[in-house]
């Protein structure tokens, strides 16, 4: 009998209120620089991660940004057209670039 009581106490343990229903992951506002090519970023880069994840790399060269975009296509199978590969690279280099080609 004692054992059964113990078991039912165990079964009753409740979950912490923030996780016993659907967990809400907050949305963060990111400051995004508007400009030519931003449409392509919106269409191609925000389906798998937030903008914050992209720009925390800091200011980078054109080659760096191009390699990132290619990595997304090659390794993560991002469906990005050749044209948008160039447009997104240009946008990133223009707004989050360090001025160097390489």
């Amino acid at each position: 009998m004692k054992k059964i009581i113990l078991l039912s106490i165990l079964a009753l343990t409740t979950l912490f209120a923030q996780v016993d229903e659907k967990v809400e992951i907050p949305y963060m506002p990111y400051e995004i620089k508007m400009g030519k090519g931003f449409d392509a970023i919106e269409a191609n880069c925000l389906m798998c991660h937030s903008f914050g994840y992209i720009i925390n790399q800091g200011p980078q060269s054109r080659q760096f940004w191009h390699e990132k975009v290619v990595k997304m296509i090659h390794h993560f199978k991002a469906p990005i057209s050749k044209e948008d590969e160039i447009t997104t690279t240009n946008y990133l280099f223009e707004h989050y670039g360090n001025g160097k080609e390489k």
Partner: protein, 397 residues
């Protein structure tokens, strides 16, 4: 200019070019100026926040005065944006299949009831912790030094579970799959593999962290705990364990979380090393929790420098402190700790000069391995395994 002289001059010139390109990969102290955000994620205090999707949260330096990192300050690192947002603990199952005699489907209640319950206190550290120390920037999250923490994990030995399932003779690899899935169906999921030989009594399936259910963002309801290994192996929301004969080719195992396969594990930005190996075991490291950069203290007052040190389980033998920029070193007092845990250190320091003072901490493990100066850590393109001597600069008034 004679032709011979010209040749000589151009040789010197090209040597100079090579010289700068070799030193182009440099290392300093990781970024330490980031503030915690205003947004608190579920079960967390506001932490340093890099991204919401996937959630990337870093623990501020002050927390590392203690050997146990509180759950609500423990760092968070996911790879994919799609975290399941609801887990029904009643119906959740961990499946064991592949080369086993009996496939298992274990509920959380069974895990807590039908197996021996064990605890291990262990450090969990991202392989890219402190990545912001590398320049030029190494790809990935630009962490300061807070992508790490130490907790008391409670759960069940993986060995006991595999023994119950009965592993077949020719099984060599164990694959782990979590419930974290990619947003796009063709993106490879985050899956890890481990060789049977790496399995020991410390490898557990943990459902509890510091006496509470695992926080949702740290892998609720069950995660793999592999002490001594970097956190990319500690699969969160563990849902499937598959035993196989052959190694399966996996993106995150074969491309990400790898360092150059040479003895210095280093390379230059221009000339990346051709072969790589997994990051696996952690190197010796320490972080100062107090004081922090820009702390102001009075001349001749009584400062206690505190922090934590750890390695891959050999154990920390000494932590040395310098208050003169690394010229002279004195021993800090160490608190006892389990082999895989943070070892707390403390050091009494009375500032007898005025102005800026740089305090450094250097850990040495039982094998004699010690931390290099930050600038002597060699560059690698993934920005992994940084373990430079930590340093904070305070002001004495």
């Amino acid at each position: 200019m004679k032709r011979r002289d010209f040749l000589k001059a151009s040789l010197v010139a090209s040597a100079a070019v090579v010289g700068t390109s070799v030193s182009a990969g440099v290392t300093g102290q990781p970024i330490d100026s980031r503030k915690v955000s205003k947004i608190a994620f579920p079960e967390k205090k506001p932490l340093i926040t890099y991204s919401d999707r996937p959630p990337l949260l870093e623990t501020p330096r002050e927390v590392f005065t203690r050997g146990i990192t509180p759950n609500d300050e423990f760092f968070v690192r996911w790879h994919m944006p799609e975290i399941p947002t609801f887990i029904d603990v009643e119906t959740y199952r961990i499946k064991i299949n592949g080369l086993v005699e009996n496939e298992l489907s274990i509920s959380i209640a069974e895990l807590k009831r039908d197996y021996e319950q064990v605890e291990v206190t262990s450090v969990l550290q991202c392989g890219g912790n402190s990545r912001s120390a590398y320049s030029p920037v190494a790809g990935g999250v630009q962490w300061g030094s807070g992508a790490m923490g130490c907790a008391k994990w409670k759960g069940v030995r993986l060995k006991d579970i595999l023994n119950r399932a009965g592993v077949k003779k020719d099984a060599h690899w164990i694959g782990f799959n979590g419930s974290e899935t990619a947003a796009y169906y063709e993106t490879p999921n985050f899956v890890r593999e481990m060789h049977m030989d790496e399995l020991d009594d410390y490898v557990i399936l943990a459902y509890e962290m510091n006496g509470e259910d695992l926080p949702y963002l740290n892998g609720f309801p069950v995660r793999l705990v592999i002490p001594g290994h970097y956190s990319d192996s500690w699969v969160k929301m563990l849902s499937n364990i598959t035993v196989t004969k052959e190694y399966q080719k996996l993106f995150f195992m074969d491309v990400a979380y790898r360092v150059p396969d040479n003895s210095c594990e280093c390379e230059t930005p221009e000339e990346k090393y051709k072969t790589t190996k997994p990051i696996t075991m952690m190197n010796v490291k320490s972080v100062i929790g107090y004081p922090t950069n820009n702390t102001v203290v009075a001349h001749n007052s009584h400062v206690v420098v505190r922090g934590v040190a750890f390695d891959d389980g050999h154990g920390i033998r000494d932590v040395l402190i310098s208050t003169d920029g690394g010229k002279n070193w004195k021993q800090a007092l160490l608190k006892d700790a389990d082999r895989y845990a943070f070892r707390e250190f403390r050091f009494a320091y009375k500032p007898t000069t005025y102005g800026k003072v740089t305090i450094m901490a250097k850990a040495i493990n039982r094998l004699g391995a010690e931390q290099p100066f930050a600038q002597d850590v060699k560059w690698n393109h993934g920005g992994y395994k940084y373990n430079g001597i930590d340093s904070v600069t305070i002001e004495v008034i």
